[in-house]
Structure formats: structure tokens, C-alpha cells
């Protein structure tokens, strides 16, 4: 039980820091619009940066991953492109990777 409730001080600091950073982004758009106008250029930069971060995480997972990760990710992409069901795509990719790791070990 104590393990379930364990609260590390560094982890707490990380969570609070993340919460503040997230709040700044959520309130930031409302706040900024009262002061400056968000130009299409800034908007395009922010949008592509956000996409870039998502792609960075996928790229890192693929570069650090094993064959099961590669095939699993390819399956996620294929199912998502075909059916546009994110949870289904993720679960299929995960199941394929888990199955491959059982077989390959």
C-alpha cells in the first residue's frame, strides 16, 4: 500500500513544473490575444513545432527500438491510415510487438 502512495519529491517537482508549463500554453493564447495579434507566421511556426515534437518522439522510439518496435509502429501507421481509429491502431501495434517479442526471445 505504501508503495502505491509513494511520492518522490523530485517527481512532485517534475509534475508541478509540467503543470505550470502546460497551463502557460493553455492560458497563453487567450492572454496573448489581449496584448498582441498572433500572426499567421507565428501560428504556422507553433503548429509545425508541435507536430515536430510528436515526430521527434516517434523517430527516437524507432531509432532506439528493436524489430518488434519497427513492425509494431508500421502496423499502427497502416491501421490508422486505413481505418482512422486511433485506439484500435495502437492496440494492434502493441499486440503485434508483444507477440513478436514472445516469439523472438
Amino acid at each position: 500500500m505504501s508503495e502505491l502512495l509513494a511520492l518522490d519529491m523530485t517527481a512532485l517537482a517534475a509534475v508541478i513544473g509540467m503543470a505550470v508549463a502546460t497551463y502557460v500554453t493553455r492560458a497563453g493564447g487567450f492572454w496573448l490575444m489581449g496584448h498582441i495579434t498572433l500572426t499567421p507566421r507565428i501560428e504556422r511556426f507553433l503548429r509545425n513545432m508541435a507536430n515536430g515534437v510528436l515526430i521527434a518522439i516517434i523517430t527516437a522510439a524507432a531509432m532506439r527500438g528493436d524489430v518488434a518496435m519497427w513492425i509494431g509502429l508500421a502496423a499502427v501507421l497502416a491501421v490508422m491510415l486505413l481505418f482512422r481509429r486511433s485506439m484500435t491502431a495502437i492496440l494492434i501495434g502493441m499486440a503485434i510487438a508483444a507477440a513478436l517479442r514472445q516469439l523472438l526471445v
Binding site: 517537482a13 493553455r26 498572433l38 513545432m49 503485434i96
Partner: protein, 232 residues
């Protein structure tokens, strides 16, 4: 009640409307909450995972930090990653601002703290149909927050019971969340070049830089490539 009124309002009817419109999304948030909890439970205690979901309340950012959640925790990298992954909210908030501009600023800034992608989309659609009720946004939060936090805690208790993350493919689950987001956010050919730039920047950073610089570099490469390429 005042859905047709042009002046901004904040009513119980608006909250109710937002809640009703969010119901389908809150159902689909449950498996994501469980999945996040299960993945997080292998790395941190259920209390820490639940607290993160309660205070950060941002699925993509929370999944993103899991791959960096190793002792000693890289605090700066975790906070910067949360900011970068959530930077899209700045644009989203800016699009909602005009509808709520007449309302007291502190109401708007308080409720904005719980704006999710789904909550923003529902609110914007409702505003485009003529409503000016900030309650709608609050309603979307009421329908998502308890599901996300509850799902996290349940998933984390399961995940903390000696689950081997890789064996169950939880690393693929985390990467898969982002893969589906990228496909879902794809808007057309103008996204291709920034996407390639982001991947190339990330690969270079992973090969030649230590730590978690790849997230910042990948994000900046994507953002800058978006500026450089000519408008379609």
C-alpha cells in the same frame, strides 16, 4: 438559454450543453487513461501518476515524458517537453479568445487551464453555431478530467504490479499514441517538409548530442521548416 445572444455569458445551461457534447469523447478517454496509467505505473507510483494526470491533464505531454522518466529525473527536459508538446494550445486558445473577450479575464484564464484538444474542438464548433457561453468549455472539462484521472489510477495500480513494460509492448503503445496523433493532425502537403526536417533534426541530435535535446531540436527543425517553405 442565451445561446443565440451575441454577448458572452457563463451559464449553467452552457455547462450542461458542453457536458452533453463531450460524452462520446469521455467514453473514448477511458482506454487512453488506462493505457497511460499502465505505462506510467511501471515507472512511478500510482499516486505520482494520478497526481500528474490531475494537475497536468494533458495526454500527449504525459505520454511524451514517460520515455524520459528515468532516475535521476531530467527536470528541465521534462518541463520543456511538456511546454513543446502543448505549444499547440496557444493557437487553440487564440482562436477561442474573441468569443469570450467581453467576460472577466480571470474566469477565462481559470477555465482555459483545463482546455483539451477535444474540449477546444467542441467549444469552437459550438461558438461557430452562435453560442458565446464559456460554460461550454467548463462542461467539456467536467466530462473528461475525472475519466482521465480515474483511468490513470486504475491503470497505474495494474501497471505497478510487476508488469514488464517491453514484454507487453507498452513502449510501442507510447510511440503509437504519437503516430496516430501525427496522422490525425495531418493537414496536407505543407506538413511534409516540416515533418521530414523534424525527423532529420531528431536523428542528428540522437546521434551527436547527449540527453534529451532531440525533442527540442526536432520541434525547432519542424517549426523553422514550416516558416521557410513558401505558402501553398
Amino acid at each position: 438559454m442565451q445561446a443565440e445572444s451575441p454577448s458572452a455569458s457563463f451559464t449553467r445551461a452552457g455547462v450542461w450543453q458542453g457536458m452533453k457534447l463531450t460524452l462520446p469523447y469521455s467514453v473514448s478517454a477511458l482506454p487512453f487513461g488506462l493505457a497511460f496509467g499502465a505505462a506510467a505505473g511501471a515507472l512511478m507510483s500510482p499516486a505520482e501518476a494520478g497526481l500528474m494526470s490531475a494537475l497536468v491533464f494533458a495526454g500527449a505531454a504525459q505520454f511524451a515524458v514517460l520515455s524520459m522518466w528515468t532516475a535521476p529525473l531530467p527536470l528541465a527536459a521534462l518541463v520543456i517537453t511538456a511546454f513543446l508538446v502543448n505549444a499547440r494550445h496557444i493557437v487553440m486558445g487564440a482562436t477561442l479568445h474573441p468569443y469570450f473577450a467581453p467576460l472577466p479575464r480571470r474566469w477565462v484564464l481559470a477555465i482555459a487551464g483545463g482546455m483539451t484538444d477535444a474540449g477546444w474542438a467542441i467549444t469552437l464548433q459550438t461558438m461557430m453555431r452562435g453560442s458565446r457561453d464559456l460554460g461550454v468549455l467548463l462542461g467539456t472539462i467536467i466530462m473528461q478530467w475525472p475519466v482521465w484521472v480515474g483511468g490513470t489510477v486504475i491503470g497505474a495500480v495494474i501497471g505497478s504490479s510487476g508488469l514488464e513494460p517491453k514484454r507487453w509492448g507498452l513502449d510501442v503503445l507510447i510511440a503509437g499514441v504519437f503516430m496516430t496523433s501525427v496522422v490525425g493532425l495531418y493537414r496536407g502537403r505543407s506538413d511534409i517538409l516540416p515533418g521530414i526536417a523534424a525527423a532529420a533534426g531528431t536523428a542528428a541530435a540522437l546521434l551527436w548530442l547527449p540527453g534529451n535535446w532531440y525533442i527540442l531540436i526536432g520541434g525547432l527543425a519542424g517549426g523553422l521548416a514550416g516558416l521557410v517553405q513558401r505558402d501553398e
